[in-house]
């Protein structure tokens, strides 16, 4: 349709015309750059918030992959227990795929101080296995942490301690059901108080040694769950498949099912970001189209001239689109570099503590680390390129339809 020679001419005309009005080209390029920059930078910030949120949910005793008794997810009671197959699972997974796994007892319970009682989740842990997997393995603790599976003390959250009007060193009573459906009750001394990222977590969980919990509940060597943490969230599905193959009788699920709220928010965010990109691109494209119209108007005589010399109408369209393409390309380079620099400058994290009260409710940390995802860069740039190029076709088409004689008679 357009031969190599014509491409050469069109390219020459387009590039020189773009270089002609430097001020205008610079401003338009900057506008496009700003659009790309805000799109990518905002996406990075949003991804930082949501990633943090999902990671917090995962760190909150969820893990990337969970193994349970098939009935446990619906009915998390003591009798829905499984044998500890951690070793078998770790063997089934290729080395390096997972960071670790932790087997826990995890049952509903009531904790009572002298003043008050409240419903919580009693978690029996092996502290060595929890390092790097959950907040309790690494959390800030006053007093001392759970030191082994047979630790006789109990660790509760800061907020819960306030709520129960109790303190480190005091005693509480924990009540639950044992495997036979009988009341299991035991007094514990509070040996540690943890401080979690989220207040809800501090109120929800109390921790004791796994062996101690098994003894209290008559579980023997049975446990409630195995939590596995891999390299990152996206690797979870592969781990689920491998683990399910190793323990076909158990229910294996990824964090997406275990923390559906976080998963749903990530999905909504994907849609929202696309919508945001669209808004930005529409704004940018209006500016661009307007500028192209201005430049075409100023050069009406030239469009008349080149067409009178025999340039075909569709080549005029291509020439104008090429001019738009050059500006878009420049804008995309500026925007992406700007976004990259911004994110790099903020790589130490953005402190949101001033707004943290509201954010915490949603499971967001006080410090957000902007994260650039390849898919956001690709989506934002594709939107800009495709939609703005399509937009430029309108003035380009107009230019190709300018009546030649009228255009030729325009005075400069």
């Amino acid at each position: 349709m357009i031969d190599a020679q014509s491409w050469l001419v069109l390219w020459k005309l387009a590039s020189r015309n773009v270089a002609r009005n430097r001020r205008r080209t610079a401003l338009t390029t900057l506008a496009v750059g700003l659009g790309v920059w805000t799109s990518v930078a905002l996406a990075a910030f949003a991804r930082g918030i949501s990633g943090e949120m999902a990671d917090n949910a995962i760190y909150d005793l969820t893990g990337h992959v969970q193994v349970h008794h098939p009935d446990y997810p619906q009915d998390p009671v003591v009798s829905n227990s499984i044998p500890d197959s951690s070793a078998k699972i770790m063997q089934a997974l290729p080395p390096g795929v997972v960071l670790g796994s932790a087997a826990r007892v995890r049952v509903p319970a009531v904790v009572r101080s002298e003043k008050k009682a409240t419903g919580v989740t009693l978690v029996g842990i092996d502290p060595d296995a929890e390092h790097g997997l959950s907040f309790i393995g690494d959390g800030v603790i006053s007093g001392r942490p759970i030191e082994g599976p047979d630790d006789q003390g109990i660790v509760i959250g800061q907020k819960l301690a306030e709520h129960l009007q109790t303190a480190l060193g005091r005693r509480v009573v924990v009540m639950s059901q044992d495997v036979n459906g009988k009341l299991a009750e035991r007094g514990f001394r509070i040996t540690g108080i943890f401080d979690a990222e989220l207040e809800a977590t501090e109120k929800a969980f109390i921790f004791c040694g796994r062996g101690t919990a098994q003894q209290l509940l008559g579980l023997g060597a049975q446990i409630s769950e195995i939590s596995i943490v891999g390299q990152n969230r996206d690797g979870a599905d592969a781990i689920v498949n491998a683990v399910q193959a190793a323990v076909p009788e158990a229910a294996v699920r990824s964090w997406r099912k275990a923390a559906p709220f976080a998963d749903a928010l990530l999905r909504v965010q994907n849609a929202f970001l696309k919508f945001w990109f669209l808004i930005v691109v529409i704004a940018v494209s209006f500016g661009l189209i307007n500028t192209i119209f201005m430049s075409i108007f100023e050069r009406a005589r030239e469009f008349g001239l080149i067409q009178s010399l025999g340039m075909r109408p569709h080549n005029v369209i291509v020439q104008v689109a090429l001019e738009a393409f050059l500006v878009l390309l420049g804008g995309m380079v500026i925007g992406n570099c700007g976004a990259w620099l911004t994110v790099r400058a903020l790589s130490g994290g953005v402190d949101l503590s001033r707004f943290a009260r509201g954010m915490e409710m949603m499971g967001v940390s006080r410090v957000v680390y902007p994260t650039i995802l390849a898919r956001d860069i690709i989506t934002a740039n594709l939107f800009v390129l495709v939609l703005c190029l399509l937009g430029s076709l309108y003035p380009a088409w107009k230019a190709s339809r300018l009546p030649i004689l009228e255009a030729l008679h325009r005075t400069h």
């Binding site: 020679q5 050469l8 020459k12 005309l13 009178s308 075909r312 030729l408």
Partner: protein, 236 residues
């Protein structure tokens, strides 16, 4: 005028071009029939508003007649699409306008190459042919200047080189000397006449200038869109 149409580069039959509607209707070209022979050197003259530009635009496939037919090098222009007209302008016609003939972002040699490149001539050939022609029109050494860096007369010479570069059947020039001083105008005319002789290119040009008229071999006088005289004169 009624000779074998193969000898005629352009033939108009009862061509009318009207502008506007009923009360303000202007008949810029009024039922003109005309043939121009190959290799001709024809001048259109007449008072302002007599229809010279309109007639040239019609012949040059830049405009369509309200009525009548135009045959250019054996092809009926009134039957062609926009795209086909562009192709005709590219392959068969060279234009020289009164002013602003050149694409400002292209150098002199690039302006001349432009029409060859649109026609798909390989780059190497374009460049050497354009350089040759610029030398022929007396612009050797100025090939790489942009139009803004050339005088009016030099710009018109570039336009002449461009008009004849891909051996058009016909070169149309609408008052090519109107913006030039008399010396430059005279030189440009000489150049056109030389090219007409040496390359056998047909020229049709409009002018107000007595001097320019005198160099034509055929003089067509227009008034109110009609031909009022059509005469041949001995060439000088």
């Amino acid at each position: 005028m009624t000779a074998d149409s193969g000898a005629m580069i352009v033939t108009l039959r009862h061509v009318t071009r009207e502008y506007g509607a009923a009360p303000n209707l202007v008949r810029a070209v009024d039922d003109i029939s005309l043939s121009v022979e190959r290799g001709g050197f024809v001048s259109l003259f007449g008072p302002s508003g007599s229809g010279k530009s309109t007639l040239l635009n019609l012949i040059g496939a830049l405009d369509r007649p309200t009525n009548g037919e135009i045959e250019l090098d054996g092809q009926r222009l009134d039957l062609l699409s926009r795209d086909e007209l562009a192709q005709i302008r590219l392959n068969k016609i060279g234009f020289i306008f009164q002013a602003y003939n050149l694409v400002p972002v292209l150098s002199a040699v690039e302006n001349v190459e432009f029409v060859m490149q649109l026609g798909g001539v390989p780059q190497g050939q374009c460049r050497s042919r354009a350089m040759e022609l610029l030398a022929e029109v007396g612009l050797a050494g100025l090939e790489h200047r942009r139009p803004g860096e050339l005088s009016g007369g030099q710009q018109q010479r570039v336009a002449v080189a461009r008009a004849i570069v891909d051996n058009p059947a016909l070169v149309l020039a609408d008052e090519p000397t109107a913006n030039l001083d008399s010396a430059s105008a005279h030189n440009l005319l000489e150049l056109m006449r030389d090219l007409n002789r040496s390359h056998g290119v047909t020229f049709i040009f409009s002018t107000h200038d007595k001097l320019v008229m005198e160099s034509a071999r055929r003089l067509i006088e227009l008034k109110d869109g009609k031909i009022i005289s059509d005469s041949c004169q001995a060439s000088h």
